[in-house]
Symmetry: C2
Subunit: 250 residues, 2 copies
């Protein structure tokens, strides 16, 4: 799947609330789908707690390996919001109140409302670029190849719209989804494996879901070469058609 037009990313979700199960993450899937559509392939995701050493270690592992890292969570006004400090530490950058953010926030909050807690949201690593927050003022930021976004899905999504403007993108994946209908995975697994082997430039996945006591499968063919993806789709359709009509039990 590698090639000159491949751009990769990782998602780093930061927050105790995800690891306690209190909050169910909705950001990994959203970011993965969004970036995939514009030609940035998400290759890994991690969830870490609100512990500076853990955030720094994950950031360093991911930012050295992928073109981009998108983080979510930990940039609010409370004591458990330590993402900006962790990112600064990972980059060895000083952290301080950013005058651009202070100006934005001073426009929104009166002097009595501009609490030290809110000022905390203006602290970003030196040299970072801002990522607009059209919903609640305090911006995210970008430093190096790391984009630091909010954790609240609506705010994260609005920030992501801004963040991607400065990302380079690769070629997008062609994707075909084929319903297997009543043909079970165990029936087509061998033939599908042979197709996958014959077409190494496409990625073929088989995905069962389970509803009302029955499995339903989809076969997904993905790749950067649309012709190879189309060839794989045809081969899979032909395979399923043969199995539906060969008289053997499904």
């Amino acid at each position: 799947m590698s090639g000159p037009s491949t751009v990769t990313a990782a998602v780093l979700v930061i927050g105790d609330e995800i690891l306690s199960g209190r909050t169910k993450d909705r950001n990994i899937g959203y970011i993965a789908e969004y970036l995939g559509k514009i030609g940035v392939d998400v290759r890994e995701a991690r969830v870490v707690p609100d512990v500076e050493e853990e955030i720094v270690a994950a950031l360093d592992a991911l930012r050295s390996r992928y073109d981009y890292v998108v983080t979510t969570g930990g940039i609010g006004p409370t004591h458990d919001d330590i993402t900006a400090d962790a990112v600064a530490r990972a980059f060895g950058a000083p952290i301080a109140e950013d005058p651009r953010i202070i100006a934005m926030m001073a426009e929104r909050y009166g002097p009595a409302d501009f609490t030290p807690a809110r000022r905390r949201m203006a602290r970003i690593p030196s040299g970072a670029e801002l990522v607009d927050n059209p919903i609640s003022t305090a911006p995210g930021f970008r430093i190096g190849n790391v984009f630091v976004l909010a954790g609240v899905p609506q705010v994260m999504q609005a920030m992501l719209d801004c963040a991607v403007k400065s990302m380079k993108t690769g070629s997008t994946m062609a994707v075909e989804t084929i319903e297997s209908g009543q043909v079970p995975e165990g029936r087509y697994g061998d033939a599908l494996g042979a197709i996958a082997k014959a077409l190494p430039t496409v990625s073929i996945g088989s995905y069962p879901s389970f509803k009302d006591g029955k499995f339903n499968n989809q076969i997904v063919v993905r790749g950067k070469d649309p012709e190879a993806v189309e060839a794989a789709r045809q081969a899979v359709e032909a395979m399923l058609a043969a199995m539906r009509t060969d008289g053997k039990p499904l």
Copy 2:
């Protein structure tokens, strides 16, 4: 948060479909919540693609660091199901068809239906214990401190019920959730930080959500000492009550 009765775990989600965004993960949150309730603290989660080296590297990083690792995905009958091979490689264990699984599956499938693809699901690392699958026969397994479960949420959940029977558990977290009502994070952030500092054995988080154009916040207090958690709850309630009545704008 550490102590003699702390048992930790990590979740490893395996599958290209999660990283493409096609399938939205529902297993991390479920496992985190489920294990937390029985006294196993999930400390990290990762999502990796269907690439053996990636699975092995993540497994090795996580199994050496946490008491348990729970994996989901990649144990079906198709060519992209490579989790069992990756786990065997991580443990340096041979992999082969397990006679117990062959017997179970032979009961379900007739000779014509017991395809090579289905037999693939009987391949597990040598020495692994089985984790029952009450839904679709082919079991998960445990080797060392790693539990290997299905990716389909309903099947994973049924397997998890079985898997936890052999886990040691620590003391559970006491958890209190306090609604901040109309008091915004930026207003209470400083005072909340002071409470968190004064009560270092509890973990205090502030979690905004956004609905219909408005933020709503919850403050969550967690810890293994119920008295300390109760003290923190009372301090947070008192803090919010003071802010609701001090006459300053919220």
